[in-house]
């Protein structure tokens, strides 16, 4: 595909994520049309838009769950458009799912351990990890970070919804993430849980950038520095949180008259 020289030169471009003309068709339906956006390393951005605006499809194209019909996606300068999802993940991309995508038959600890194992060597190892296994410790630390230590040996199927949402985030933070896509992490959370979520997001190391899809503006606008508005599969507006919030067109389209 790319020559080495091209790839090297694009490394200098310095974007964490660069989408050019990304279009995704489902049959005749265009879920995404000509989306072009650039996100700096460490940048935190919200993607807003009504249902069907193409937000989750955008995530699916970036991670490779559904490859784009046309356009290119670069991740830290590397063209990953035709990579399978696991190759993108191994390069530092992470995502969470709108509807928790966990492993209900395994314990919390094993869920997180798998996430740590997935981005390191020995995925096919037939040897059980020992007591001092680095990844076991990494998983324990991560379980603690999302306040799930108390339930770490419980099967995930037994967890409460809020705990499952926290685990969902833990899975996306395993290894050395460079960029995370959060798909409605606050869905179904109580106000207290939302506060905890905000705390988790704002305390992420500064080099980890993310895009967050979130309907709750109180959550979304408190944890990001830039906002992209989507409408009917296209980028409709980009700007700072306060600009977007006060934009009359945005209010008309998305927030509706009944907001607040």
């Amino acid at each position: 595909m790319d020559s080495v020289a091209q790839r090297l030169s694009s490394v200098g471009a310095g974007a964490a994520l660069e989408l050019r003309g990304v279009t995704r068709l489902f049959g005749a339906l265009a879920a995404l049309t000509d989306v072009t956006m650039t996100v700096r390393p460490g940048e935190r951005r919200a993607v807003l838009g009504s249902n069907g605006a193409g937000k989750t499809t955008l995530f699916n194209c970036i991670t490779g769950d559904f490859p784009p019909s046309s356009g290119t996606i670069r991740f830290f300068g590397e063209d990953v458009t035709h990579f399978p999802p696991y190759e993108r993940i191994r390069r530092g991309l992470r995502r969470t799912y709108q509807i928790s995508a966990l492993f209900p038959g395994l314990t919390v600890q094993d869920n997180v351990y798998l996430a740590c194992r997935g981005v390191s060597r020995g995925r096919f190892s037939f040897l059980r990890p020992g007591q001092n296994d680095a990844l076991v410790h990494a998983a324990e630390t991560l379980v603690q970070a999302v306040h799930l230590t108390g339930v770490k040996d419980q099967p995930v199927a037994e967890l409460a919804h809020g705990q499952q949402r926290q685990l969902e985030i833990a899975l996306a933070l395993a290894g050395a993430p460079r960029f995370v896509l959060f798909d409605e992490p606050a869905a179904g959370l109580s106000p207290t849980e939302r506060a905890e979520l905000i705390e988790i997001l704002t305390s992420l190391p500064a080099h980890i950038g993310y895009i967050i899809i979130e309907h709750d503006m109180d959550v979304a606008l408190r944890v990001v520095e830039s906002v992209t508005m989507m409408h009917n599969g296209r980028i409709f507006k980009e700007g700072l949180p306060q600009e977007i919030e006060s934009d009359p067109e945005v209010q008309e389209l998305y927030l509706g008259a009944g907001h607040e």
């Binding site: 991670t63 769950d65 399978p84 999802p85 696991y86 993940i89 191994r90 992470r94 995502r95 799912y97 995508a101 966990l102 492993f103 209900p104 038959g105 395994l106 094993d110 869920n111 351990y113 798998l114 996430a115 194992r117 997935g118 981005v119 020995g122 995925r123 096919f124 190892s125 037939f126 040897l127 059980r128 990890p129 306040h147 799930l148 108390g150 339930v151 770490k152 040996d153 419980q154 409460a160 809020g162 705990q163 926290q166 899975l171 395993a174 290894g175 109580s190 207290t192 849980e193 905890e196």
Partner: protein
């Protein structure tokens, strides 16, 4: 939220500690497992040759085939109906490469060359079949693997150059060395027991190793596994390779047991028997297939006499198996193991409520219900 899960912690603190202690070798503190192991070891003192071979060795061999299916279905969520075919292929290869009464076909290699060859070829065969099957999900996996099984059955029936058609290959030689005939009842029983025990512990061990955990992750949510950096299909194919090796071992034992192999042993009906054995026993734990195999072999051996006594056709033993299968699937989502576990749970909750009054800690009496 933190309040909620702090409360949960106090509910089962001992369970958590015990479970993490048990991560090394399972069942080491389980007296029932030790008793079972002891009985199996001294079986030749208790049982006569008929029981030793026709019941127990046969159970262990069928159990091994069902174990390979249990590994794929229970941990990987892939129902493969070709595990018996892989075992049969391995059995044929032992007969073809080794020594048999059909000198025009068998190459006459010594067993210690023929067996590794058979294991390798059968594992490759199963892995290639798996590579085809992993491109499909659910019922299509069942259909593809059934198609491979059916194709192999008809091929063995019609191919005379290698598989000797419907007569199969007879009087297959069995190993003799160190002055022992390893196919005589007692040595053969111990060989089968050793292989079955090794495979059982291997499956149990691998289930908690990264490979086995990842396989269970693939079963629960393949899309998420890809989003964690796993190559899902590569994992599935590797699972087929491992399971095929187990099935291939069973095939070697099978051909040594009967000293012959013919298309009847790899028929579509026999493929489905393996599925029934695994489901009746339970596919969530490696012990399940062996329980299922014991039930199957006992029914197959004794139902005939029982039915004849009732004045029915003895060949209707499959009717009994079918009814048992229906009953178990109806009352338990996980075969005999499932029934046993729910019975243990009832016992435990009964014991917990009575011991609560006497202030005795009952807790997790059995970690391996």
């Amino acid at each position: 939220m933190s309040l909620a899960h702090d409360a949960r912690v106090t509910v089962r603190p001992t369970a958590a500690v015990q479970r993490s202690k048990l991560r090394g070798w399972p069942e080491i503190d389980n007296p029932a497992a030790w008793t079972m192991a002891a009985i199996l070891l001294i079986m030749p003192l208790i049982a006569n040759g008929f029981f030793l071979i026709e019941i127990f060795a046969t159970t262990l061999i069928l159990g091994l085939m069902a174990l390979s299916l249990m590994f794929l279905a229970g941990y990987g969520g892939m129902v493969s109906l070709m595990q018996l075919t892989i075992a049969g292929f391995s059995a044929y290869m032992v007969a073809v490469f080794g020594v048999s009464g059909n000198a025009n076909i068998s190459l006459g290699w010594p067993w210690w060359l023929a067996v590794p060859m058979a294991l390798a070829l059968a594992t490759i065969f199963g892995t290639l079949g798996g590579a085809l099957a992993v491109r499909t999900e659910g019922i299509y996996t069942i259909m593809i693997t059934l198609a491979i099984g059916a194709a192999f059955y008809y091929f063995t029936n019609q191919n005379w150059a290698i598989f000797n058609g419907h007569t199969g290959i007879n009087t297959v030689a069995t190993p003799h060395f160190w002055g022992i005939n390893w196919r005589s009842d007692i040595p053969f029983y111990y060989i089968v027991l050793a292989v079955a025990a090794t495979c059982y512990f291997a499956v149990d061990y691998v289930a908690r190793a990264p490979f086995g955990l990842a396989l269970q992750g693939v079963r629960d949510n393949p899309r998420r596994m890809a989003a964690l950096g796993f190559n899902v299909n590569a994992h599935r194919v590797a699972a087929y390779a491992f399971a095929s090796f187990v099935a291939a071992l069973a095939g070697v034992l099978q051909v040594w047991n009967y000293r012959q192999i013919s298309p009847g042993s790899v028929s579509v009906g026999a493929c489905i028997d393996v599925l029934i054995i695994a489901v009746v026993g339970g596919i969530t734990r490696p012990i399940g297939p062996f329980i299922g195999a014991l039930i199957f072999v006992l029914l197959r051996t004794f139902a005939l006499d029982f039915l004849v006594k009732l004045g029915l056709d003895g060949n209707r033993f499959r009717l009994l198996i079918g009814l048992g299968f229906l009953a178990i699937v109806f009352w338990s989502s996980d075969g005999v193991i499932g029934l046993w576990q729910s019975w243990r749970r009832r016992q435990r909750s009964g014991a917990a409520s009575s011991s609560g009054r006497h202030d005795r800690g009952s807790g997790q009496g059995s970690s391996h219900g």
